[in-house]
Subunit: 445 residues, 3 copies
Amino acid sequence: MKTKYLIPLAAVATAALLPSVGVAQEAGVEAAAHTSYILTTLLFLVGGFLVFWMAAGFAMLEAGLVRSKNVTMQLTKNISLFGIAAIMYWLVGFGIMYPADWLIEGWLGPFFAVTALEPVALDPAEASLDYASAGSDFFFQLMFCATTASIVSGTLAERIKLWPFLTFVVVLTGFIYPIEASWQWGGGWLSEAGFSDFAGSTLVHAAGGAAALAGAIVLGPRIGKYSKDGKVNPMPGSNLALATLGTFILWLGWFGFNGGSQLAMGTVSDVADVSRIFANTNMAAASGAIAALILTQLIYGKADLTMVLNGALAGLVSITAEPLAPSLFLSLIIGAIGGLIVVFTVPLLDRLKIDDVVGAIPVHFFAGIWGTLAVVLTGGYHGEATLGAQILGIVAVIAFVFVSSLIVFYVLKATIGLRASEEDEINGLDVSELGMEAYPEFAKG
Amino acid sequence: MKTKYLIPLAAVATAALLPSVGVAQEAGVEAAAHTSYILTTLLFLVGGFLVFWMAAGFAMLEAGLVRSKNVTMQLTKNISLFGIAAIMYWLVGFGIMYPADWLIEGWLGPFFAVTALEPVALDPAEASLDYASAGSDFFFQLMFCATTASIVSGTLAERIKLWPFLTFVVVLTGFIYPIEASWQWGGGWLSEAGFSDFAGSTLVHAAGGAAALAGAIVLGPRIGKYSKDGKVNPMPGSNLALATLGTFILWLGWFGFNGGSQLAMGTVSDVADVSRIFANTNMAAASGAIAALILTQLIYGKADLTMVLNGALAGLVSITAEPLAPSLFLSLIIGAIGGLIVVFTVPLLDRLKIDDVVGAIPVHFFAGIWGTLAVVLTGGYHGEATLGAQILGIVAVIAFVFVSSLIVFYVLKATIGLRASEEDEINGLDVSELGMEAYPEFAKG
Amino acid sequence: MKTKYLIPLAAVATAALLPSVGVAQEAGVEAAAHTSYILTTLLFLVGGFLVFWMAAGFAMLEAGLVRSKNVTMQLTKNISLFGIAAIMYWLVGFGIMYPADWLIEGWLGPFFAVTALEPVALDPAEASLDYASAGSDFFFQLMFCATTASIVSGTLAERIKLWPFLTFVVVLTGFIYPIEASWQWGGGWLSEAGFSDFAGSTLVHAAGGAAALAGAIVLGPRIGKYSKDGKVNPMPGSNLALATLGTFILWLGWFGFNGGSQLAMGTVSDVADVSRIFANTNMAAASGAIAALILTQLIYGKADLTMVLNGALAGLVSITAEPLAPSLFLSLIIGAIGGLIVVFTVPLLDRLKIDDVVGAIPVHFFAGIWGTLAVVLTGGYHGEATLGAQILGIVAVIAFVFVSSLIVFYVLKATIGLRASEEDEINGLDVSELGMEAYPEFAKG
């Protein structure tokens, strides 16, 4: 339960039914509460499966943007990190993020904040009907945790070993993400400080980007990426059809990511807000893509598909901190600036010799910061967002995630080792580490 | 808001609740109106994201059916055309299509029919609750506009340059499609003339096919497609797995395309109709695929996968003009005839030396016409469709779209140029125009 | 209509509204029945399109796991089998499975149990509102029938000819599946014997696996798979990115498969149960994947992506017999054991020289049996499942499907022939049988 919408539902229902009288009125209020509970639960189920689908989007995007000798590894990392996120978020993450819940529901006491579901065949008379079912809430929130981990895997591709990466995912999904997300969505100090992040431009995307940045720094660039004379050697992705598919999947999933974060669909007002969010989210993605398309044509004389794809994603990240309040026109502007940011920050990272294989840092980190700042253009859905509070939130979350990730990566490097051997990296992780090629019958270029 | 279902919702709700009395009754009517508004909005949101997904389907289908040297270009066109459609339909399209809305909502007056959304946290007391939220309606209708453009890109693949194509998309999605669609779904003269096209066999599919036909005529065939001795040289698609994936995606999205076009889900009657539409749509796709499978086996002695895929799509296009009224058996017949049409019209186009790279004209143009005519088999959902009105609508829409597209394509040809140079076409548009291969590591055959 | 949830809806609604009086009360009960009917119908529509999407998942999984010379064939089989299932389940299957329905609705009397839909613009006063629309129910159930056939196609890949395979699908989807499914979900003898299979671990998955096993035995292994000296020669799949995509698609679709099988979403209790099912289903998939990941690392010293994919699917199959009753922890255990079963039974089949190209028998047959037995750990959602009844159901269904499939395969072998010629198999079915390569431009290894 993010803290945004703790609407006293019964009051809404009562207002909707006034003026009515007596027992029929009470029955009506009760029926309205039932319907509202069902519809908000449905929002979480549909939103949740759409965000689940984003895991497939990241897998395809990243598999398409790495070289063919590392595709099996990238696929293995992506499906495994989702599995780990699902388990860790259940075991500790959800309980850390929403302390009130696990104190009641947890069955291992203080050691693990294990999440429990409501009973089978829930009796409405014994349930709180002003929100949604616990199972649907857990299902939906879990997907945000997994998304944070998916962001990291692309940046670190083609050189990090499997098990150190998955160990980092354990810490990220079980602890780092839940802790920082609890500051805001668990009703913690950031939400009290007035920070506003509707669906996670900072809490999910800049956080994932900060972890990716920490990992890229510790790992160092791929062999041959940066020549000693300062030249950047392109290492083109092996399958742009897959990368495009991944982008479309992410775009689709984002309707659930942002729309579901309304956290309510039981009233006319809420469903109209969800509609605004869908329309704005789509607009920001479109304008991010078109901005990158035009800018790459102007700068390089050639449209650049990978920039268009990342432009769409940056548009999506940018609108995520506040997809509700902007007009369609403002959403267009916010998304377009996100697309421009990608085009300008991809070469910036290369100049810093930070090797981000898929462009996740420009898309999620830089556009995520932009989107969080852009909330002040509207004041946010509650009309009270300030630049100070936004900067506070961005700095706090990024600093925490970056530093804690840096520590974890250094510990892993010093213990089990983080990076594949030079020979393994040159041969490709698929053959060297997994013994399985993704496209065994197709000749390599 | 298509014109079909302007049901006085309050009346429906009242009828459902009779006989009841007094204030409780009024409250009940109001609550029913709220629930109905929420459910119809939900139909548009779910239907809308499913139709959005069709953009990915077209991208994969077309990327799979072009040769590998043009895949990056095809992907770039497809994601960009969606972005353009999203912006143009907001800027002018929606306002042209539904004039009543933008006159109220538009904020740039007579110059642009810019679409605006309902306010955040909509007050039910100040909203019209007999339909759905404006945002969801815009979101849903936008996807139909984008679909029309997606149809064109496949036919013109492998030879049209990027920017002329995208310029055409600007005109198509901002003006051509919204104008002809307004004739019917905006309550215009075609709807008054008794034309019946439930979800767009003509308004979307034959229209897109007519634009594709105009483009193919102006562009001419690919180099080497037709030998001087009249021989047709097959240029097989580079990735049939992607093409099949694209077909499945389109099939899935079509449930939203046809089901959402019921435009209402707030009553038992409406949701039962949506169910009929889902079942009929699936049946027509299945029978279109199987008809093409059997017919290619009989004619050529070999089942032809690309024909089966296009057969399924033709079945879907065929049922789109009237997915509600037919029985499952009639849906099977309508879809199967769609599948047969594809098998017969693909070689017909080749005989006319019209080079349609992916078969979009057979699927969308010819099967779209068939589907629109097939409405008379049932009389349509309102029982009044006549052959005369159907022919009138088909001719009017196709003539308008074909002629206006022809003009735009000729103007583009005469000004910025339409077609890649011979050398660029032979080298492939990916390398020559974009400098980026889709599968850089895989050897070309 | 599975038999599980024939809740007297009016009673539920009445209870929800008590204590209220007079005509307003009756109106309220009626309105609640309408809303419940709409919501359960919506569950079937959304659940149905998700399970439809599984057909694409099987197609991608299988296309990715066969060698490139057989990809076009595998795609052709997969889309065609879905078309056949849609037609056969309409023509006879649904009527066999739910006899009461077709006796009323069928229009060809005793010869075919043809399914009919409810009328257009259904009048609520003339409809039974305690369940869902007939069209949505048919649409949803059809997808389960198609899934059963999809399971078979992977095992028999790379050697079975197209038309014999499709002929088998006609019998499987029209007769074999509907007959055994009617024993339980049609209210038949197995349901009366106390057998419990919530969404089909046995009725769909073990049944599909049993048919696949029968086919694999009759067909024999691929040429070169098993050397005379007992060596097993790996024949790696041609595209693991596609296989991973297919797995993610199946995982997504499974939320509809299991969640929709609640068969009701009109009450707080039902939607909370659907939420439990979503959360448990996701957990079992995650733990199945991670269990296979860890076990392959421990046994072989290398993580095995194809095992991780099949581990996730086995987790999903395992939880399908009872996704509602378990806690998240028990779901983790059930899914993990499913993942382990795959790792152990894949080599077992090879030792028996049963050549299952994609691992469908381990995933669907063995994990399906495990999942059905695991129902006794909770007693099932109704709390009465016994080991005896579970074993009875497993044995009855598998014996029936295996023997009848064996007979059909032998008859096909003896008549039109089942297996491609040795030369055709070596050249690949794409070129030899279909004359169309899936990746014509990419060199073969």
